[in-house]
């Protein structure tokens, strides 16, 4: 299990990859 979340940046790519999973779309303003 990864030690951190591997965030994608492209929503449409995530949708195409989702399959049976859900896309978790995080709107953030936290320091990166």
């Amino acid at each position: 299990m990864p030690e951190e979340i591997r965030w994608g940046r492209d929503f449409e790519t995530a949708l195409r990859a989702a399959g049976d999973k859900l896309v978790l779309l995080d709107f953030s303003a936290a320091p990166m």
């Binding site: 299990m1 990864p2 030690e3 951190e4 979340i5 591997r6 965030w7 994608g8 940046r9 492209d10 929503f11 995530a14 949708l15 990859a17 989702a18 399959g19 049976d20 999973k21 859900l22 896309v23 978790l24 779309l25 995080d26 709107f27 953030s28 303003a29 936290a30 990166m32």
Partner: protein, 149 residues
């Protein structure tokens, strides 16, 4: 909340995570914000592969409340695709695993609805109303279930 090991495991197992940042990805942030009417941070959406929003979490939550909300979203997605047996199991998992969370009363309500949808047996609703007499009786979901007694 995204540094919590249980949250990391859940997110990795059940979702494809995408982050749009208000400053770092301003264009995508604005476009997706308009598309999903999300104009505050943090806002977390669970979206199915067809692009339909299935659950929304607005504002910060600590991991012990955030994780049950994610689980609630996964259960809602199962309900939305009319997999009612899976939805009931997933909703009951929320109640069993996160009994003290804010998500639990809502999950108890929808577990009953899912069972009713799966079986067409009105006893599922009556049993749910009775369950609310034992647990979460002061919640708004208990009020909603009260008509099933």
């Amino acid at each position: 909340m995204y540094t919590n090991p249980q949250v990391i495991e859940f997110v990795t197992r059940h979702t494809v995570p995408v982050r749009v940042h208000a400053r770092e990805n301003h264009e995508a942030f604005a476009a997706l914000g308009d598309r999903f009417d999300a104009h505050w941070t943090p806002t977390t959406l669970l979206v199915d592969a067809g692009g339909t929003e299935r659950h929304r979490i607005e504002g910060f939550l600590p991991a012990d409340q955030f994780l049950p909300q994610l689980a609630l979203g996964v259960a809602k997605a199962a309900f939305a695709r009319k997999d009612y047996a899976a939805a009931e199991r997933l909703y009951r998992d929320v109640v069993d695993r996160y009994a003290n969370s804010d998500a639990a009363p809502e999950a108890q309500y929808w577990a009953g609805v899912s069972r009713y949808r799966a079986t067409n047996d009105a006893a599922a609703l009556k049993d749910t109303a009775q369950a609310f007499a034992q647990r979460y009786k002061d919640s708004s979901w208990a009020t909603k279930a009260s008509v099933w007694k």
